[in-house]
């Protein structure tokens, strides 16, 4: 690790991609993440990489498809409406098993909505925005440092599983400045995906030709490909579940489940809940897909109430219910429209839910 620098989330996100070896970035401007593009417009040429602003997010998603299919580490960033436009491409990219990385700096929706922080793209990210049975690995940082670390890790995971990885942050993480330690490497990571020679289109010189495609007209072939994808997803579920636990030792009155910016607000709210004598713990999912189902299920045994706290009208709560399986009451507290609740509002919300349950 290098020395600490103070960086804006969006700029740190761009720098992290470069440190991870990525030399190809395609984008379309959209608030609140445009600074990633503006940063990389300067940085990519400095490191000999490719920066291109496409004509739309639809086009960008296929620029990723193309570059990813050519075995290059490729990255994009966008925000909610832009990710919706990439949904078609995501289905194709996941089917073609291309190791691309993207980040959704979420803003409030639906529709044009606004540009303030939100987490209402949880379903879109974890349940699949596009058509078909596919999964992106989905990771949710809650600080600028974690965004940097997870981006670097994402390129490795994408490469390891030949699977796209999507980070979900929110406008707050994109806009705020925090000190970060940028990772350093003894050997700079390659801009190419390891082992790409076996599948990528680089020109069939001295080898069998490679084909990147998603059409399976023969139903058996189609089924086989789906089974292959599901086998890979099972492996990811077995290996890559990540979360942070705070104060979950012993019996609890309430267990909070919250991610990203919302989890930080919860941490402050926990202090005031404890001051009022509430035994409160939190599980903060870092991987949203795969989701820490089993761990939440285990914790549900020793708490009176589980509450999913989100910047949405209630999305992750469905996965929390799936985890808890009716063993313990599950409540929900959330805000929408770009409103980030204060720690006090969260505290009051939790106390109300405790009274009701």
């Amino acid at each position: 690790m290098g020395k600490k620098v103070l960086m804006k989330g969006n700029e740190a996100i761009g720098e992290a991609a470069i440190l991870a070896g990525c030399r190809a970035y395609f984008c379309y401007p959209i608030t609140p993440q445009t600074e990633v593009a503006e940063y990389l417009a300067r940085r990519m040429p400095e490191v000999g990489g490719t920066f291109l602003q496409g004509e739309s997010e639809v086009a960008v998603s296929y620029m990723l498809f193309g570059a990813g299919g050519a075995g290059v580490k490729v990255f994009t960033s966008s925000s909610s409406p832009g990710i919706s436009l990439m949904a078609e491409g995501m289905s194709y990219i996941a089917t073609a098993e291309l190791p691309i990385v993207l980040i959704n700096v979420m803003r409030n929706g639906p529709g044009l909505g606004g540009i303030l922080p939100a987490q209402a793209d949880y379903f879109q990210a974890t349940k699949g925005a596009g058509h078909g049975d596919y999964h992106f690995i989905v990771l949710a940082p809650s600080s600028v440092q974690e965004a940097v670390d997870l981006i670097v890790k994402s390129f490795d995971m994408a490469e390891k599983y030949s699977n796209p990885v999507m980070l979900v942050a929110d406008g707050m993480i994109g806009q705020m400045m925090e000190p970060v330690e940028l990772p350093t490497f003894d050997e700079p990571p390659s801009p190419y995906v390891k082992g790409h020679e076996k599948w990528a289109t680089t020109g069939a010189k001295g080898r069998e030709r490679n084909l990147v495609k998603t059409l399976f007209l023969n139903p058996h072939e189609g089924q086989d490909h789906n089974v292959k994808l599901q086998t890979k997803y099972k492996e990811i579920e077995a290996n890559e579940i990540a979360f942070e636990e705070i104060d979950t030792d012993g019996d609890l009155d309430v267990l909070l489940v919250s991610f990203g910016t919302m989890a930080r607000v919860c941490k402050t709210a926990m202090e005031s809940l404890k001051a009022e004598g509430v035994k409160v713990g939190m599980l903060r999912p870092i991987s949203l897909w795969p989701f820490p189902l089993q761990r939440i299920r285990d914790l549900a045994d020793k708490t009176k109430l589980v509450v999913s706290v989100e910047l949405s009208m209630g999305q992750m709560v469905e996965d929390v219910e799936r985890a808890v399986q009716g063993k313990t009451p599950v409540g929900f507290f959330g805000r929408a429209g770009g409103i980030v609740p204060t720690p006090d509002e969260v505290k009051d919300g939790i106390l109300n839910l405790m009274k009701e349950s």
Binding site: Y28, P29, T31, T34, A41, Q53, S56, P81, L112
Partner: protein
């Protein structure tokens, strides 16, 4: 007895616009309002707002409006006009909205000859998102996503939308105008009135491109902007009518 020589068009509202000082979006709005009034179209008109600085343009008009997704206005206008043929439908779009993300919808609405009118505001930059490159950005022009200036070797030359659309056989009227000086404003209004008049007559697609200023993101004063538009944009984007109904077969 006093006579009224100047008043707010009926088609416009009393709200004060949110545009930056020296931005010409407001002048274009005013022309749209005057033309709708003069042609007696207020109660038939339906506007489509884009996504861009003018996303809130419906606040400044007193006519029906729909708000589009970024770039999709011509398709929405198509949906309205095809199902309500007696209405007068126009899209109001910036150059990022129309010439980048929405080129597809634009070209096909024009080529199908949709009986709609497009008010196209070309300010050579993305305004709302804070000054990124647009397809219409001038060679060498500095924006936040081309910090060294637009390099035509990697980004091509600015897109001349009006000339491109004029190659299509179907549209009835395509013109480019400017509004940075009063004499130009008079010409601009004449062109806009024709465009709407042709729609009233049931003719095919019409579009008027307005060369416009964005002092904020050009990082200029309003008067510097006017000069830059005149010196840099005008020579590349010539004014005039590129297609008129007379050429229609």
């Amino acid at each position: 007895m006093a006579t009224t020589v100047f008043k707010r068009p009926e088609s416009m509202s009393t709200n004060i616009t949110h545009y930056c000082p020296g931005c010409t979006h407001g002048i274009v709005h005013r022309l749209v309002g005057e033309v709708l009034d003069e042609l007696g179209l207020r109660e038939r008109a339906i506007g489509i707002a884009p996504v861009g600085c003018s996303v809130l343009c419906y606040n400044y008009f007193n006519i029906d409006f729909q708000e589009s997704a970024h770039g999709r206005a011509p398709a929405m206008a198509t949906g309205i006009k095809r199902t309500r043929p007696d209405t007068i439908v126009f899209t109001y779009q910036g150059d990022g909205d129309l010439a980048s993300i929405g080129t597809n919808e634009l070209i096909h609405a024009a080529n199908r000859g949709e009986r709609i009118t497009t008010v196209f505001v070309n300010n050579a930059i993305y305004g709302m998102t804070g000054g990124q490159m647009a397809p219409t950005t001038m060679p060498g022009q500095v924006t936040t996503t081309c910090p060294m200036g637009r390099d035509v070797q990697t980004m091509g030359h600015p897109l001349r939308v009006s000339e491109m659309l004029a190659t299509l056989k179907t549209p009835s009227y395509i013109a480019r105008v400017a509004v940075h000086k009063p004499s130009y404003v008079i010409e601009a209004k004449r062109a806009l009135k024709k465009a709407f008049q042709y729609q009233v007559e049931g003719r095919c697609y019409s579009l008027v491109e307005f060369l416009s200023t964005c002092p904020t993101n050009w990082a200029m004063t309003p008067s510097q902007s006017t000069k830059w538009l005149e010196d840099t944009m005008l020579p590349y984007y010539p004014l005039g009518e590129f297609k008129t109904p007379d050429e229609e077969e």
